[in-house]
């Protein structure tokens, strides 16, 4: 669109040298989306999508701190939800194996 066009007049130096490629990259703005690398995108404890913060964190406006935890069984939950869960029952709510943390998201 003509209005979006900014024409800068530069007088000195023109043409391209022999080695130059016709098109060279000057700037690239890359966009990516990240999500937790999980098998099931809903937290089985609080029933909220793992990409969203758990209800407790939503209420306390701590969305950015609400991470995901994976067990040895490869099941994943909100870390806050699981911390509360294991106090009562140290088993994975999905497969009933003993809960051992494999890794915590960051």
């Amino acid at each position: 669109m003509a209005d979006d066009m900014e024409v800068e007049a530069e007088r000195e130096g023109c043409g391209y040298q022999k080695n130059d490629k016709m098109f060279t990259l000057k700037k690239w703005n890359l966009v990516a989306m990240w999500s937790w690398d999980v098998e099931c995108d809903t937290c089985a404890i609080c029933r909220v999508q793992v990409m969203d913060a758990c209800l407790r964190c939503q209420a306390e406006n701590k969305q950015d701190d609400c991470v995901v935890v994976w067990g040895e069984c490869n099941h994943s939950f909100h870390n806050c939800c699981m911390t509360l869960w294991v106090k009562q029952n140290n088993r994975c709510p999905l497969c009933q194996q003993d809960w051992v943390v494999q890794r915590i998201g960051k």
Partner: protein, 775 residues
């Protein structure tokens, strides 16, 4: 003073010496101090010492009063002519009435004695003294009742002649009224005589006067003049009423008078007057309308036809204006919103000037404006239903919310429009959008489009003013957009900030290493939960110039975070490439898709490449490749295009596999008619950052979300009420959902059926219109 013997205070003894003073008092002749004092003394003595004294005294007094009144009567009645009679009466009455205040004073003791005889009735406060009552009663019985009809008639005659414009002494009329008010000795209802005679006569006279006058005036001068006449007469009669009618506290004469005036001047001609209303609204005759409003406001049911006329006018005029300019406004959101606002301001001004912002008229304006805004005859938004098995046709909706969102985007993005306006102007226009938005039924459509636009602005960094962006989010909250939606928007802003920090870290980490990656790469890594729509991802095979950077970024991210996976959204990424050709060097702002295409020429700079080869090289879906190529061979408003193609085509649809493309060695920018050797141009332009597929999905998503919202709301209501009938359920449902959209009857019905099928609720066995919640 010597003690009195009992015998000395007999009535017969004392009366002769008292009488002259009493007569003087009655006749309003001067009484000296001594006579005045003696009278007190004598009354006291007679009442105390003579057993029969009080009664005798009372009778003697009565005789004298009657005697005086008889004389007065004969003086008054010698006048045959009514106004002379009235004058004489008023004069006599005035004198007598003054004396009514004086004469009772010396007889205080008489009061006490007489009331003692009557079983010690405790004298009520405010009750007339016995002597005063005697005086007034006597006057009333003898003189007033004889001539009251004549007095009243002549008073009314005077009022009538005043109505006809003659002047006279208003004291004459008020005098008669005073007689009525004061002559009443009925304790329970002091104004009874006044009301039954004077007030009634006054109102009858008024009514018959205008019964005759008003139709004549209406006939001769037409409705519009008649309204002025009626208004003027109402005021005139009210002020006259204040002069001639009793205005004491507790007397409602003026109210009765006003009712009567309104009835005879306005109510009886209501239909005729109201017929003019629609025309006046049409011609914007605010002064006349204000007059009509003030008249009709006094009449029962007078306003509602006016409200109806106003609504009809707004709807028809609004739609007509929209229809007339349908062609421009359906495509140009700016024009559309401006036209809507212009209409709104016009109607508001009308309501303000003609109806002084009366709440009833404001409500009508809102109602009518709402139906203009949501009307579907000018343009429709087709919301498809994916679920073909139900076999339903879509219900058309107004395109208004979509256009409003587009307009917002034009104000908030760096556009010719937003550059032209000052910050204050942009803000006031955004406020205008919010104003119209209030009237939009289906706000969910607006939300979805607004969010899509915001996504683009944030990712492409094309916001004109970040502060305004964030203000807008708060304003949306203020106008009552659903909190979860507004929170999502707020979260996008947060996320962008997080990502900016990350980008800085990335640059710092690569500051000192090879290839200048820190300078040429910006990364935005966003939370998929806040932004992503699955269909926005389009696969593309990146040229190696770009592909090489990807692992570096991924590696950096892996070190920072764990448990996360990345998805590249090249549809949204963009950049600048330098194009060097025979003319010079030019910076092109392009999308990544455009880059992918352009870099294909780096391997074979001077060759022609076929459409098919480009598709194999980029792996772009057909539709996207066509759009991308079209933007490079036929970008609007530039004379020399980046790519050339052959054979020439008219639209992107005309490309076929064998169409050849080549880099235009003659490409250059022209400024002021001169070819430039250097320069920069933005080729992203209006190239939409959403795919055709995602657009369709947008609309589908809206329907899907509506279905879920309706189900959710029904369950919420059922859970609370346990048992509810159909009508009540619908009402509550609309109440819950109205901030998002207006659910259609059909949608509600379908969702109820679905919930019944899935055993969330059931119909009552006895009444199929009642639903029961099943936990």
């Amino acid at each position: 003073m010597a003690l009195l013997n009992p015998g000395q205070a007999k009535f017969e003894v004392e009366w002769p010496s008292m009488r002259p003073t009493v007569l003087k008092l009655i006749r309003q002749e001067p009484v000296n101090r001594r006579e005045w004092h003696d009278l007190f003394w004598s009354v006291h003595a007679v009442c105390l010492w003579d057993n029969n004294g009080p009664n005798k005294l009372y009778q003697a007094l009565q005789e004298d009063i009657l005697e005086f009144i008889r004389h007065a009567q004969s003086r008054v009645l010698q006048y045959q002519e009514d106004s002379a009679l009235l004058k004489a009466y008023i004069a006599e009455w005035g004198k007598f009435f003054t004396q009514c205040d004086y004469l009772p004073k010396p007889f205080n003791q008489l009061e006490v004695s007489l009331s003692k005889d009557k079983e010690n009735v405790v004298k009520k406060k405010g009750e007339e003294s016995i002597v005063r009552k005697l005086m007034l009663d006597s006057w009333n019985q003898s003189i007033f009742s004889n001539i009251k009809q004549r007095l009243q008639d002549s008073a009314m005659k005077l009022v009538r002649s005043e109505r006809n414009g003659e002047a006279f002494d208003s004291q004459l009329v008020s005098g008669v009224r005073e007689s009525y008010v004061n002559l009443s000795s009925d304790v329970e209802d002091k104004l009874k005589i006044y009301r039954e005679n004077f007030e009634k006569a006054y109102l009858d006279a008024l009514e018959s006067f205008y019964r005759c006058e008003a139709p004549q005036y209406l006939e001769a001068n037409g409705v519009q003049n008649y309204m002025k006449y009626a208004d003027c007469k109402l005021k005139e009669e009210e002020s006259r009423g204040r002069r001639y009618l009793e205005t004491a506290w507790g007397c409602n004469s003026l109210v009765v008078l006003t009712d009567c005036c309104v009835k005879v001047l306005v109510t009886d001609y209501k239909e005729t007057i109201l017929q003019e209303c629609a025309g006046m609204i049409r011609h914007n005759e605010t002064d006349k309308l204000r007059l009509m409003f003030s008249l009709m406001d006094r009449v029962p049911e007078g306003i509602s036809p006016m409200l109806h006329d106003l609504e009809a006018h707004i709807v028809s005029q609004g739609l007509r204006d929209m229809m007339e300019s349908a062609e421009t406004i359906t495509t140009d959101s700016e024009k559309y919103v401006e036209q809507l606002l212009e209409l709104f301001n016009k109607f508001s001004a009308l309501v303000n000037k003609a109806f002084i912002d009366d709440p009833r008229f404001l409500t009508s304006r809102d109602k009518a404006y709402k139906s203009v805004v949501n009307d579907t005859s000018v343009f429709k938004l087709e919301l498809p239903l994916k679920n073909k098995s139900i076999g339903t046709k879509t219900q058309p909706e107004s395109k208004c919310p979509e256009l409003l969102a587009n307009y917002c985007d034009m104000l908030l993005r760096k556009t010719p429009l937003s550059k032209k306006l000052t910050s204050e102007e942009v803000e006031s226009k955004l406020r205008d959008v919010l104003l119209v938005l209030k009237y939009v039924q289906n706000k969910d459509v607006f939300m979805r489009y607004h969010k899509a636009h915001l996504t683009r602005r944030l990712i492409l960094d094309t916001s004109a003013d970040n502060e305004k962006e964030e203000n807008m989010v708060e304003w949306l909250r203020e106008v009552g957009m659903p909190a979860d939606y507004v929170n999502k928007l707020a979260r996008m802003f947060q996320d962008v900030k997080v990502s900016e920090d990350l980008n800085q870290e990335f640059k710092d980490a690569h500051r000192n290493n090879n290839e200048g990656i820190a300078d040429s790469i910006n990364i935005k890594i966003l939370n998929a939960g806040a932004w992503a729509r699955s269909s926005d991802r389009v696969s593309v095979s990146l040229p190696m110039e770009l592909e090489d950077y990807i692992p570096q970024v991924e590696e950096f991210y892996r070190l920072k975070h764990s448990g996360r996976k990345l998805q590249w959204h090249h549809l949204m990424s963009n950049g600048i490439v330098t194009f060097a050709n025979d003319i010079g060097r030019f910076d092109l702002e392009v999308t990544t898709f455009q880059m992918a295409v352009l870099f294909a020429w780096n391997q074979r700079p001077k060759s022609k490449i076929s459409y098919e080869s480009l598709r194999l090289a980029t792996e772009l879906p057909d539709a996207e490749l066509r759009r991308t190529l079209w933007s490079l061979v036929s970008f609007p408003k530039i004379k020399r295009q980046v790519l050339s193609c052959g054979p020439e085509v008219k639209s992107p649809k005309d490309f076929d596999d064998s169409t050849q493309f080549w880099a235009n060695q003659e490409f250059g920018l022209i400024k002021n008619g001169k070819l430039q050797k250097r320069g920069k141009i933005n080729l992203v332009g209006r190239l939409q950052l959403s795919t055709e597929k995602s657009k369709e999905e947008d609309n589908e998503g809206i329907m899907q979300l509506r279905i879920l919202r309706v189900q959710e709301a029904i369950v919420k209501i059922m859970k609370m009420r346990k048992k509810i009938n159909n009508a009540a359920l619908q009402t509550e449902l609309v109440e819950i959902l109205k901030n998002m959209f207006l659910p259609s009857k059909k949608l509600i019905k379908e969702q109820i059926e679905w919930l019944i099928d899935h055993k969330y609720m059931k119909r009552d066995d006895e009444n199929i219109n009642t639903f029961i919640y099943m936990a």
